[in-house]
């Protein structure tokens, strides 16, 4: 049942948002769409923002971010990620999304090529297009658990290639780039003088014993790596809008000017909240990981029972489902699941036009709701008999 006569968007953010909007008009939808954790921001983080409001610490922050927060981010990056970073190498942004937009504008000239693993978070497309850059896609494969293959990267390097984007763990595939591959990619970057953008927004959520490696910590990489991270995913803080970029000081200065033109500073109370998140015990992150891990098991089991192929997520909080067994595309299925089962999933085409054989399911509902969602999905998803 494909309702409506208005032409529907076929890919990217437009497709995702059209589904979100449709979901908003339907009753009792279980949303497994957006990457917006259902879990509330931990109370001690909220309390820090409220305290900052009470003590009048709500004035406009410096464009680069509150000094205390930049310092705490630098300390975190040294301690946890092995990056030799000082506060002046850090710029706080209005969410990770703004971080990627700003850094792309400060990095790419018209005609510059940037290698982007595919499927991908398509907001990068818009940022690259706006800078006049040329996106060169590097495929990742289900058979390789969506790891990024260094050979696939190297064979696409041209004289115009300026940068390589790495997103690990990956949105939407929930794959990771394995440490061995990251080391090889670092060699390639040095050899071909490439800048690496390392989007590590899902770094805290890895499973099955996998770890996280920040490529900026690999010898020789510090000056050519731009590390992007934020608070939305790690601390369930999507509504606060705080992210950050860590890079060389000259690059940070250029981004700061861009930031001043785009939106001045990130919200002050959000920055105080982010400071509390970094400087308090990290048990909340451990708890989140345990919760997502449990949900991941429930969903993988449910999908297996329905005979749906999926790769085991090594990171993030998504499951990337292959729709081949259903005989339907991701987009067809997403509309059917929404309209018939009242479950919102994102079609693979939301992450690149050639990926409509997939669906992205986010694990951001309580376990019983996930179970309920799977039960509702079953009649639509069950492979056709005969």
């Amino acid at each position: 049942m494909m309702a409506g006569t208005v032409a529907r968007p076929t890919e990217g953010a437009a497709l995702r948002y059209s589904l979100i909007e449709l979901a908003g008009t339907l009753p009792d939808v279980i949303s497994l769409g957006r990457g917006d954790p259902d879990l509330p921001t931990p109370a001690h983080i909220v309390a820090a923002a409220k305290l900052a409001a009470r003590r009048g610490a709500d004035g406009l922050a410096p464009v680069e971010g509150l000094p205390e927060l930049r310092q705490a981010i630098a300390a975190k990056l040294n301690r946890e990620n092995g990056l030799a970073i000082a506060a002046e190498n850090v710029l706080v942004t209005t969410g990770g999304q703004e971080a990627l937009f700003l850094l792309i504008q400060a990095l790419l000239d018209p005609g510059d090529e940037i290698l982007v693993p595919d499927p991908r978070y398509t907001s990068y497309d818009q940022a690259i297009e706006m800078a006049g850059g040329r996106m060169v896609l590097v495929p990742t494969r289900e058979a390789e658990a969506f790891d990024l293959n260094p050979d696939e990267v190297e064979m696409r390097i041209s004289p115009q290639t300026k940068a390589l984007l790495l997103v690990t763990p990956s949105n939407p595939t929930a794959g990771i780039i394995t440490p061995a591959h990251l080391h090889r990619i670092a060699e390639i970057a040095i050899e071909h003088d490439l800048v690496i953008i390392s989007d590590e927004i899902y770094e805290k959520f890895v499973y099955d014993g996998w770890g996280h490696l920040s490529i900026g910590s690999v010898p020789g990489m510090a000056d050519r790596t731009i590390t992007l991270n934020g608070f939305s995913k790690t601390y369930a803080m999507t509504g606060w809008r705080v992210g950050y970029i860590a890079a060389r000081t000259d690059f940070i200065r250029a981004v700061a000017k861009m930031k001043a033109l785009v939106s001045l500073a990130a919200p002050s109370l959000s920055q105080w909240a982010a400071l509390a998140a970094l400087t308090s015990p990290q048990t909340c992150v451990e708890e989140f990981r345990a919760i997502y891990s449990e949900r991941r098991a429930i969903v993988m089991h449910g999908l297996d029972e329905m005979g749906l192929r999926h790769s085991d997520p090594r990171g993030a909080f998504y499951v990337w489902i292959n729709t081949g067994s259903t005989g339907m595309t991701g987009t067809e299925l997403a509309y059917r699941l929404l309209e018939e089962a009242r479950v919102l999933l994102f079609p693979g085409a939301g992450f690149g036009a050639s990926w409509d054989g997939y669906l992205r399911l986010s694990l951001l509902q309580p376990a019983p709701r996930l179970a309920e969602a799977l039960a509702r999905m079953k009649p639509v998803l069950q492979p056709r008999k005969g």
Partner: protein
């Protein structure tokens, strides 16, 4: 590693008057463009309550519906402008509003008419978007942009006219008749008027609430940008908005979403409280500003300086040509000899030369002190 567009920004900044001021004791800083006073308690309290109620998630990319409705209600009440919530896009401050509007709409080679003096970041944004800024010197017409100004500058490539009202250097607000004529002209020539009203809540005469009802006839030819950073003392909360025709807003909304997904949830609830809660504190604040303005203007008169008569808080644009100093030289003199930091008019454009901007964010006492020091320094020069 750095793109050409950003390369000049990557250099270590040259020392400015602000750096010099940092090294001096007891400087009165009259360059501030934000109030440091805390907003009334009901506003942060609303944010706290919202946080307790779980406002920690993404919200609608257009902005929280109750906020968009509060914005609509305010324009209906104060400006006779009827809007629907689909004609409002909430942004992370008026700065983001300006950025997304211009970046989404201005195409390569489009000419954008802006006042001179104007706003330097505006020039940068227009150029980033590939547009060509066309400056209208407005000093000779008492710093008022006139419809005749525009008629002379129109070319086949003119697409936008930006009006700063009240103006962020002079405090001059465009009057209704001029705005109507400019909008008519915009419609005839298929232009879009972008009306930046970030300082609107500072208009001195509380009764002077210009109707925008006539704009309804020109939907599609204007955008209005405003926010809560200035007079509402919410600069750190980052709330602004764009209102305009739904179709015009479409690509701007897409860019805003690509740029920052949505604006901070708790800030938006604070903004709801700011717009729907008590408004009398704004009236009292305007009275404070007019007292500060009067004190400073009297002191300036006594020194032989004249300020442009502002329509709104919170700046004074002061003619210092009698000193025969450039605006930058005057600012340096004021800092070195009187420990008073002011903004050279030339920073707002070539037509601002000969003027300095004084910000009235300090108390009457501090402002009087600054004026006394300035007067003493000038007398020492004689």
């Amino acid at each position: 590693m750095i793109a050409h567009r950003a390369a000049p920004w990557s250099l270590a900044p040259r020392p400015s008057l602000h750096d010099l001021a940092d090294d001096l004791a007891n400087v009165v800083d009259l360059t501030r463009s934000y109030l440091s006073d805390a907003p009334p308690a009901h506003i942060p309290a609303a944010a706290s309550t919202a946080l307790d109620n779980g406002a920690t998630h993404y919200v609608d990319r257009s902005g929280l519906l109750p906020l968009r409705e509060a914005i609509c209600a305010q324009y209906a009440r104060e400006r006779a402008l009827t809007l629907t919530s689909n004609q409002v896009l909430v942004t992370s401050g008026a700065q983001e509003a300006l950025f997304v509007a211009l970046r989404a709409l201005v195409k390569l080679g489009d000419e954008v008419i802006i006042p001179d003096p104007g706003s330097p970041p505006l020039l940068d944004i227009i150029q980033l978007a590939g547009g060509v800024p066309v400056a209208v010197p407005i000093a000779a017409t008492e710093f008022r942009m006139q419809p005749e100004h525009l008629a002379h500058l129109l070319s086949a490539r003119t697409r936008f006219v930006i009006l700063l009202s009240p103006h962020n250097a002079t405090g001059i607000a465009i009057d209704s008749t001029d705005l109507l004529q400019i909008t008519e002209l915009a419609e005839r020539h298929r232009l879009t008027v972008i009306l930046d009203e970030a300082l609107y809540a500072g208009l001195y005469d509380g009764s002077r609430q210009d109707s925008l009802a006539h704009l309804a006839e020109y939907a599609g030819h204007w955008l209005l940008i405003s926010g809560l950073s200035k007079l509402h003392r919410l600069s750190g909360w980052r709330i602004g908005w764009i209102i305009g025709d739904e179709q015009l807003l479409g690509p701007i909304r897409d860019l805003k979403q690509a740029l920052s997904i949505c604006s901070a949830a708790a800030s938006q609830w604070a903004a709801v409280a700011a717009l729907t809660g008590p408004q009398d504190w704004l009236t009292a604040q305007r009275a404070d500003f007019s007292q500060r303005r009067d004190v400073v203007c009297r002191a300036l008169d006594a020194m032989g300086f004249k300020a442009v008569q502002p329509d709104a808080a919170f700046f004074l644009f002061v003619d210092v040509r009698a000193t025969r100093l450039s605006s930058a030289q005057f600012a340096e003199f004021a800092l070195r000899e009187a420990r008073v930091l002011v903004t050279p008019g030339v920073e707002f454009g070539a037509a601002g030369e000969g003027y300095v901007r004084l910000s009235l964010t300090e108390s009457v006492e501090r402002l009087s002190e600054a004026m006394a020091r300035l007067r003493a320094a000038l007398e020492r020069q004689r």
